[in-house]
Symmetry: C2
Subunit: 189 residues, 2 copies
């Protein structure tokens, strides 16, 4: 098993995967580890949708791209507008060539959903890295509005998609994008 | 060094600490590991404020309690109202007896601040656990409004406090609060 400081190096955002499938049982094992994450009042607001069908992932990609482009149409100054060119490319798949997708979601009306699902996502990405798998959080895949698709994914109208995470075996592990020195705003002692 | 699956067991929310101080250099090492966390577009929106003075932590606790109680006064149906009784107890310190506090914050106007700081908080808690330290995310300590205190903590008016994390050497590591089986909403394959 991998030590934590080794994990820090091998947990990278991976956008290029081999064709090797990820067994469903392995994904469930990762989820079992994910739910060890800290969360507010142990309420475990997180829910998981698993997609192991690349064709279905392509449909989610198209749906999400369409909805983001509609948002940009309404608000050209939206921060997401910087992705417009790539989103207008019909061959661009927001999930790259990953073999599967795990969507972490939670109840939209709960204040803690976003933070608790982000904590779960962090655990998921580390659990995957510890087993030689790669992941990447794909914000551009979160804009799922089509009612039939939401139903198939188990996302009812009260559910907020927080973290669409692609998962697979990396062709290679990228090096870490350069980090700035941490910004320590104050030390009181 | 600790393996990841061992870390899952020893990273618990700790609310009871020994008197042993945590050296500033060790806290900075934890922060160096924390900033390896994934984050949107590698923008590294996170900032860190370190408090190693229990008396100052007590002042932050009193400030945050005061502001939460004012919120409850305005909105008695707020979810935080369930903490009213404990917050009205003048001897209750939201940071318990922890020897230090690290506040993770980021620019309030940025959509990704909450999620990116939560990912950083998850890394910080794991990095601490890997070194035998305990942590706990203290939401009740986040309500810091006093201008002088915010200035001392390096939190300007544009900064949002996301994760106040207490840190210290645990008297003991609590067992994991029971988790429900993970809620898998859909499997598409």
């Amino acid at each position: 098993m991998t030590t934590f400081d080794a994990l820090l190096k091998i947990r990278r955002s991976v956008r290029d995967y081999t064709d090797q499938a990820v067994p469903l049982e392995l994904i469930k094992t990762l989820i079992d580890e994910t739910i060890c994450a800290p969360n507010a009042s142990n309420e475990q607001l997180w829910r998981f949708s698993i997609v192991r069908d690349k064709e279905y992932m392509r449909r989610i990609s198209d749906e999400s791209k369409k909805n983001i482009l509609a948002t940009i149409q309404v608000d050209p100054n939206s921060p997401i507008a910087r992705y417009e060119a790539v989103l207008r490319n019909p061959s661009f798949n927001v999930f790259y060539n990953a073999p599967c997708l795990v969507i972490i979601s939670g109840p939209a009306e709960r204040l803690n959903t976003q933070v608790d699902c982000a904590l779960a996502a962090g655990y998921f990405m580390l659990a995957a890295a510890a087993r030689g798998l790669g992941t990447c959080w794909i914000n551009l895949g979160a804009y799922i509005e089509d009612a039939a698709m939401r139903a198939e994914l188990g996302l009812d109208s009260q559910t907020r998609v927080v973290a669409p995470l692609i998962l697979g075996y990396p062709k290679q592990i990228p090096s870490m994008p350069k980090r700035n020195p941490p910004r320590i705003s104050a030390v009181i002692e």
